[in-house]
Amino acid sequence: MWSKFDRNGGLFIAAALGFFFIGGLITTVEPPLLDKSWATPLAGLKDYATLAKSGDTGAQQIMQGRSIYVREGCWYCHTQQTRTIEADTIRSGWRDVRSPVSTPDEFVYDKPHMFGTRRVGPDLSRVGGKYDRQWHVTHFRDPRSLVPGSVMPPFPWIVNDPQELDALIAYVQSLGRAKEWRPAHDYEQ
C-alpha cells in the first residue's frame, strides 16, 4: 500500500505534513493550553518590561542590562535554570540553604528566555544578591583576578561605560529573586 506514496506527489505531501502536524501540534500548541502554569506569573513576580515603559528607572536599567546580556551572548556559557537535580539546588543555594528549583512561573515575562544549554561557566538562576557591586565591577574588568582559572573574557567596553556597567549589574542582581528563600540576614543587596 505504501507504494502509492512514491508515485503520487500530492498524496506524499499530504501524508508527510499530516504526520508532522500530529506531533508538531501536540508538542507546541497544546502544552501551554493544557498547562496554565507556563503563563501564570508567580505572586510578586515583577514584569520589568511593563514597569520600564511606565517610567520606572530601576526597571529600565534592568531591561537595558538584560539586552546587554543578550547582545554579548552571555547565555551561551551561563544557564539560568536550577534543575530538579539535588546538586543544582546546592550549587544555586546560598551558604547552607538550598535554592528552590526553577519553575515556569518565575520566567513568564522572560523574553527572550535565557534558560541556556551549556555551562561553560556556572548557572546564574539564583546569582542575584550573592556578590556585591564592587565584585561584579572587578570581575567584568578582569575575571581571573577574582576567579583564577576562569575562561570568561574581560568586557572592557562595558566596564568603561558607566551606564552599561550599572545596567548589567542591576540585571545580574535581579536574577532569581522572585522566590523568597534566603535567610533574612544572609542577604547582600
Partner: protein, 461 residues
C-alpha cells in the same frame, strides 16, 4: 530484496544537465566552510587563552560563537546540501532542473543572507534564541530563499519523466515541507511568546533544524550517493520506506528533551523521552539499509573516496543517533546535560555524519558536473583521514571530558571553577582535533577550486 534499482540507470531521455546553480551552491558552501572553520579555531583558542583578541567587542567569544554555529549550519551545510539537491533531484527525475536562473538567484540571495548574518552577529544584533539569532529582515530573506529552493525542486519533481520517486526525492521533499513550518515556528511564531512557552518553541525549532532539515537532506543525499558511488543497487526499498515514514512521525515530538529536569512540565519531558527512544527505529532501519547495500562491495572502501566519506558518515550517524536516545533518559541526562558531552554529540551529527555525506557527495558530483576529473584523489583521501582522525579526537575528548565534568557537577563539594580547570586539557585536545579538521577543510576547498580551474585542460586530455 534488492528490487529497487535507482531509476537513473535508464538513459535520461532529453536531460542535458547544466548544474550551474548546483556548482555555485557547493562552491559558496565550501567558502563558508573555510571561514566558519577559522572562526571555530579562534573560539576554541579562546577557551585556552581567554584574553585572545578579547579587548575588541566584536571579536569576543559571545559574538563569534553564533557566527561559527550559523556559519556552519546555514553558510556551509545547508548551502552544500541545496547544491547537491540541485544535482541529484533532476537526475532522479530524468529532467533538467526546473529553473537554473531561479537557482542562481537563490544562491546569490543566500550569499547576501550569510554576509548579513556575519555583520549583524558580530555587531551584537542577537535575538537571544539559539539558531534563531538572526534579525527579522534576514529571517524573511531566508524564508524567501527557502520558498525559491522548494519551488525549484517541487517543479522539477512535478515535471519528472520517471513516475516512481526514489527515496532521496521523498527525503528532500519532506525536508522542504517540514522546514517551512519548523523555520516559521522557530523564527517568527516564537517571537510572540515568552518564558517556558518560548523555550519550548525554541527547542522544537533547534531540535527539528537538525532533525527535519539536516537529517532528511543528509539522508536523501546519502541514499543517492551510496548506491551511485559504489555502483550497486540499494539493498531494500521497503526498509527505506519504513525509515522515512517513521522519521516523519517520530522526530517532531522530541524537542523538550533539551529541557529535561528544567522548568517545563514533567509529562512533556516524558513524551520527549519516549519519542527520542523511538528514534532508533528510523535510524537503525536506515543504517541497516546502507550497510547491506555495501555487502560484497566493502573492498571499495580502500580507494573510493566518496564511499569512504559515506560509510564513515553512516557510522557517525549511527553513533550520534544512539547517543541521542541515551541522553534523553533522565538518569543519563542528569550527568551529561549542559556539559561538553552534548557539544561532542552535536558536532558528530553536523560535522561528522551530515558534513561527511555532503563532502562525499561533492567529491563525487563536482568532477561529473564539470565533465572533468577530480584535481587530486590523493588530496581528497588526505582530507578524509584528517577529518576522521581530527573528528574522532575532537568528539571523544569532549565526551570523556564532558561526562567526567558532569559527574563532578553532581558532587557539590567540588567548586565549579575546579571542574573548569579539569576540563581544559580536554578542550586542548579538541582544539588540536579541530585544527586537523580545518586543514581537511582547506584541502577540500582547494581541491574543488583546482578542479574547477583545470576543468577544460583535464577534459581535453
Amino acid at each position: 530484496m534488492s528490487e529497487a534499482v535507482m531509476s537513473t540507470s535508464g538513459p535520461p531521455a532529453a536531460a542535458e544537465h547544466e548544474d550551474r546553480s548546483s556548482f555555485a551552491f557547493i562552491a559558496i558552501g565550501a567558502l563558508f566552510f573555510v571561514v566558519s572553520g577559522l572562526v571555530a579555531l579562534i573560539i576554541a583558542g579562546k577557551l585556552q587563552f581567554p584574553t585572545l583578541m578579547g579587548s575588541v567587542s566584536w571579536l569576543t567569544y559571545g559574538r563569534m560563537r553564533p557566527v561559527h554555529v550559523n556559519g556552519m549550519l546555514f553558510g556551509w551545510l545547508l548551502a552544500a546540501d541545496m547544491g547537491l539537491c540541485f544535482y541529484l533531484v533532476p537526475r532522479l527525475c530524468g529532467v533538467k532542473l526546473w529553473s537554473e536562473k531561479l537557482g542562481m538567484a537563490t544562491m546569490w540571495l543566500w550569499v547576501v543572507i550569510v554576509l548579513g548574518a556575519v555583520v549583524t552577529l558580530l555587531g551584537g544584533m542577537n535575538q537571544g534564541l539559539e539558531y534563531a539569532e538572526l534579525p527579522f529582515v534576514l529571517d524573511v530573506l531566508v524564508t524567501i530563499a527557502w520558498v525559491a529552493f522548494g519551488l525549484n525542486i517541487f517543479m522539477t519533481v512535478f515535471t519528472r519523466k520517471y513516475q516512481q520517486m526514489y527515496v532521496s526525492v521523498w527525503y528532500i521533499m519532506g525536508a522542504i515541507l517540514w522546514t517551512a513550518f519548523v523555520y516559521i515556528t522557530g523564527n517568527f511564531a516564537v517571537m510572540g511568546t515568552a518564558g517556558t512557552s518560548q523555550a519550548n518553541l525554541n527547542w522544537f525549532y533547534v531540535h527539528n533544524a537538525v532533525g527535519l532539515i539536516f537529517t532528511p537532506l543528509g539522508l536523501g543525499i546519502a541514499y543517492y550517493y551510496i548506491p551511485k558511488a559504489a555502483e550497486t543497487p540499494l539493498y531494500s526499498h521497503r526498509l527505506s520506506m519504513i525509515g522515512f515514514w517513521s522519521l516523519a512521525f517520530v522526530y517532531v515530538w522530541t524537542g523538550a528533551h533539551h529541557m529535561l529536569h528544567g522548568p517545563i512540565s514533567q509529562w512533556l519531558q516524558t513524551v520527549a523521552i519516549l519519542f527520542s527512544v523511538m528514534l532508533m527505529i528510523p535510524v537503525w532501519t536506515l543504517v541497516w539499509n546502507f550497510l547491506a547495500t555495501m555487502k560484497g562491495q566493502w573492498h571499495q572502501l580502500r580507494d573510493n573516496v566518496p564511499i569512504k566519506f559515506m560509510m564513515a558518515g553512516t557510522v557517525f550517524y549511527l553513533l550520534t543517533c544512539f547517543q541521542g536516545p541515551m541522553h534523553s533518559l533522565r538518569t543519563v541526562n542528569a550527568i551529561v546535560s549542559k556539559t561538553d558531552w552534548i557539544v561532542g554529540h552535536a558536532h558528530m551529527a553536523v560535522l561528522g555524519a551530515f558534513s561527511f555525506f555532503a563532502v562525499g557527495g561533492a567529491y563525487y558530483s563536482i568532477p561529473r558536473m564539470l565533465k572533468t576529473k577530480l584535481h587530486s584523489e590523493k588530496l581528497a583521501n588526505a582530507s578524509f583521514w584528517l577529518w576522521l582522525i581530527g573528528g574522532l579526537s575532537f568528539f571523544v575528548s569532549l565526551w570523556i571530558g564532558g561526562f567526567l565534568q558532569g559527574l563532578q557537577w553532581n558532587d557539590p563539594t567540588i567548586p565549579f571553577i575546579d571542574t573548569v580547570k579539569f576540563i581544559q586539557p580536554y578542550w586542548a585536545v579538541r582544539l588540536i582535533g579541530g585544527t586537523l579538521m580545518f586543514v581537511g577543510i582547506l584541502f577540500f576547498a582547494w581541491n574543488m577550486l583546482a578542479t574547477y580551474v583545470n576543468r577544460s585542460h583535464a577534459a581535453a586530455e
